[in-house]
Symmetry: D2
Subunit: 228 residues, 4 copies
Amino acid sequence: MSEKLKTPMIVVNFKTYTEATGKKAVELAKQAERVYKETGISMGVTPQFADIRAVAEAVEIPVFAQHIDPIKPGGFTGHVLADSVKEAGAVGTLINHSERRLKLADISEILSISREKGLVSLVCTNNPSVSVAAATLKPDIIAVEPPELIGSGIPVSKAQPEVITDTVRLVRKVNSKVTILCGAGISHGEDVAAALKLGTQGVLVASGIVKAKDPYAVLREFAEASKY
Amino acid sequence: MSEKLKTPMIVVNFKTYTEATGKKAVELAKQAERVYKETGISMGVTPQFADIRAVAEAVEIPVFAQHIDPIKPGGFTGHVLADSVKEAGAVGTLINHSERRLKLADISEILSISREKGLVSLVCTNNPSVSVAAATLKPDIIAVEPPELIGSGIPVSKAQPEVITDTVRLVRKVNSKVTILCGAGISHGEDVAAALKLGTQGVLVASGIVKAKDPYAVLREFAEASKY
Amino acid sequence: MSEKLKTPMIVVNFKTYTEATGKKAVELAKQAERVYKETGISMGVTPQFADIRAVAEAVEIPVFAQHIDPIKPGGFTGHVLADSVKEAGAVGTLINHSERRLKLADISEILSISREKGLVSLVCTNNPSVSVAAATLKPDIIAVEPPELIGSGIPVSKAQPEVITDTVRLVRKVNSKVTILCGAGISHGEDVAAALKLGTQGVLVASGIVKAKDPYAVLREFAEASKY
Amino acid sequence: MSEKLKTPMIVVNFKTYTEATGKKAVELAKQAERVYKETGISMGVTPQFADIRAVAEAVEIPVFAQHIDPIKPGGFTGHVLADSVKEAGAVGTLINHSERRLKLADISEILSISREKGLVSLVCTNNPSVSVAAATLKPDIIAVEPPELIGSGIPVSKAQPEVITDTVRLVRKVNSKVTILCGAGISHGEDVAAALKLGTQGVLVASGIVKAKDPYAVLREFAEASKY
C-alpha cells in the first residue's frame, strides 16, 4: 500500500448520499484532504463510480471505488470493471460492503483482480468469523461492521467491543499483515480512540461524517483522536 | 426526448470492453459524434459509470448510463444512483440489459425514477412477449435483443426477423409512442437497413462497433444505411 | 384451470412459518380442505417445497409450490424444477412473490414452463402497473399485494383500495381472462368481502390464517364472506 | 457426524436431473443404499427439496438437502428453511454449490443454523484459497470442485491434482477436523482412488453416477476403489 495509506487511517464511505454526490462529493473529499494535510492522519474516500474521476482529479488522498465486479474486460453491460475505476483515478476498492454483499467465490476473484491491477483491497465483514474467512484471502484491509449498527449512531466500540477484539485476535492467527478497521455507528472522536485502543488500525465511517453539519470539524476530531 | 434522440437512432453500448474504457471511451464517443455531425443520424453512447463524466464533457451526443439501481439517495454502497449519473452528464440510461437483467418490480421502480429525474429510459428485452410487458411500463425506448445472438455477428434481422416483426406488432397494441430498437449481431449497414425495414426505429449495437477495426467507418456505414 | 380453482378463491401462503412446516403444514391444509368441503369456496395452499408431497397426499384441494426456477432438467443444484414439484403433487406455483422477486425475463420463462407442464401460474405483483405488465405475459392468476402491507394486519382493501380498483381496471384492458386476486393485511371476513366488491376474484393470504389462533375459524369466516 | 458419515464417503448430487427426480430419485437412492450395505462405504444422496421426504422414507443412508437459505422461520416465501428439510428427513445440506453460489455472510449464517439444527454441513468451494476461507467457518465437510470440470468427464484428480493437494495442505493449517472431499469430472473408480490418494476423504459426484447407464455398477466400482 502507498505511503498515503499508512495507519491509523480513516476511510469515509460516501455511499449514495446526496451530501456526497457530484460536486458535493468533490467538496467532501477536499475536506478530508484538508484534515489529512493538517494532521498527517491517513484519509481515504469512496465516491460513487461516476464521481471517481472528478474526486481523484481534485484531491491527492486515496480514492476508493465502492465496489468492483469479478470480471475481466468484455461483454458485461452495467458492471464495474477494475480497469475502469483505476483509469478514472481510484487506487483501491471496497469489496463486500454490507449494502453490497458478495458471493465468497466472487470476493476471491475480485481480490485476484485487485492484486493484478494494483488496487488496494478493503473487504468489509460482519462478524469475527467472517473476518477470519476474509482475512485468509489476503486482502490489504478488512473492516468489520455489525450491520445492525450501521447508520445507528451507536458505536460498535461501545455496543459490541467484543466484535472488535475477537476480530483482531482471531484474524491475527491467520494473517499478520492485513490492516484491520472497524465501522458502524462511529460519530465522535472518542469512538475512534476506542476503536484504536481495542486493537484496530482505523475506522470506516459514513453517515457520521457525510451527514454531519460540519464534516470537516468531525473529521478533524476523528483525526486528533487517532493520534494517541 | 431531446432533439438529439430523434429517430432513426443508433445506440452504441460500450459494455466493459477495453476498447471502450477510459480514454478510449472518449475517443469512441467522438467517432460517434463525428458520424452524427456528418449524417444527422442520432447517435447515443453508453460508457461505463466511471467514464460518463469524461465522455459527456467531450461530446454533444446523448450519453446513457449502462444501468441505474432502483434506489433513492441514502445508504446504498456500491449502487448506482440516478442523480449521480445525471450530474455526471448522462441524459438517459439502459435498463435490464441481458447482461444485467433486473427484477420486474425493479424495472418499474427504475422507470419511475427515470421519469422523475428526466432521464431517457431504454429498456432491453429478450423476446416479443417480454417486450410487450416492458412496453406497458412506458419506457421511452425498448430494444429487443435475442440473448443468444448478442456478440455472435449473426444479425437478428436475418436470423430471427419474426422476433422483430412480432415485437413491433405486439408492442404497438399496448404502446403507440415507445421507440423500438433491435439489437444483437448487427455488424453491417445492411443489418441496420433490414432492422428499419422490419419496423424498428434504430439499433442497439456493441461489439459490431466497439470491436471493429475502424469504428468510425462502420458507424458511418450504419448511419448511411439508416437514411433510407 | 381445474374445477377446484373456480372463483372466488382463497389461496393460503404457508411461507416458512413454523405453524405451517412439516406436520403442521399437513394439519393446516386439512383445515383449508374442511372449509372447502363445507362451503364450496375454492381453497389453495402453498406449502414449502419439502412439504408438497405430504400435503398433496393428505388433501384434495389444489397445492401450489411457492416458487419454481426458470430451468429445464439438468445441472442446477439447489434449484426448484417444475417437474419435481409437479410429481410431488403440486398443481400450480406462486411466481414472483414479494419475498422472492424475479427478473422479468425469468417470469416470462417460468410462465412458458408452467404452461408446458400444465401447472397453474399465480404471479404476484406489487402495484397496478406491474400487474398490467405481468398480465400481458398471460399467467392464470395474478395477485396484487402492496409489499408494505404484507403481514401488517392492515387490509389493502381499506388502506389502498385504489391499488385494487386500478389493477382490475388496467389489467382488464390487456387481459380479459386472468383471475385477479389481492393480498396483504387480510385478516377478517370483511376484508375478503371488500376485496371481492372492489372487483377481485379472491385473496392471497398468509399470516392472517397461518398465525391465527384458530385458522379453521378464520378461513371459514373468509369463505362465508366470499359467498356474497 | 453420524456413524453413517464415516470416511471415506461418496456423496451423490442428484441436481435437477430427470434421472434423479421423483420416483427416479427414490430408485437411485436405493442403489446407493445397496452399495453401502454391500461394501460398508458411506454413501450420501442429495435429492431435490420436494423429493427429500420420499427418499428419506425409502433409505437409511444419509440424505442431504441441496441448499438451505440463511433464514429463521417467518415470512420467506419460496425459501428453504432448515427446519423444513430436517423434518422431511434430511440429516445435512449442501451449501454454496457452484450452481448455487452464496454470499460469504450467508454461508456463515447457514453454518450457524446448521449447527443449531444438528444438520451436517457440506460446503462446496472452487479452489484452494476459497476452501481455506470456508474451512475457517468450521463446516463438517468441504468439497472442492473446479467449476470448469463439473460435468466434463475429466476428473479433477487428473486435470488439476494440485487443486486437491493444495486444498488439503492449506485447509489442514486452519482446520484439522473438517472432512475434505473433491469433485468434478469423476466417473471411474480410478478417479476416486486417485482422489483419496491425493489426500481427500471421499468424493462429491453427480452426472458420473446420475447419468450412468448403470448407476449401481458405477457406484459399486467407486466404493471398491475407496477401500484401498
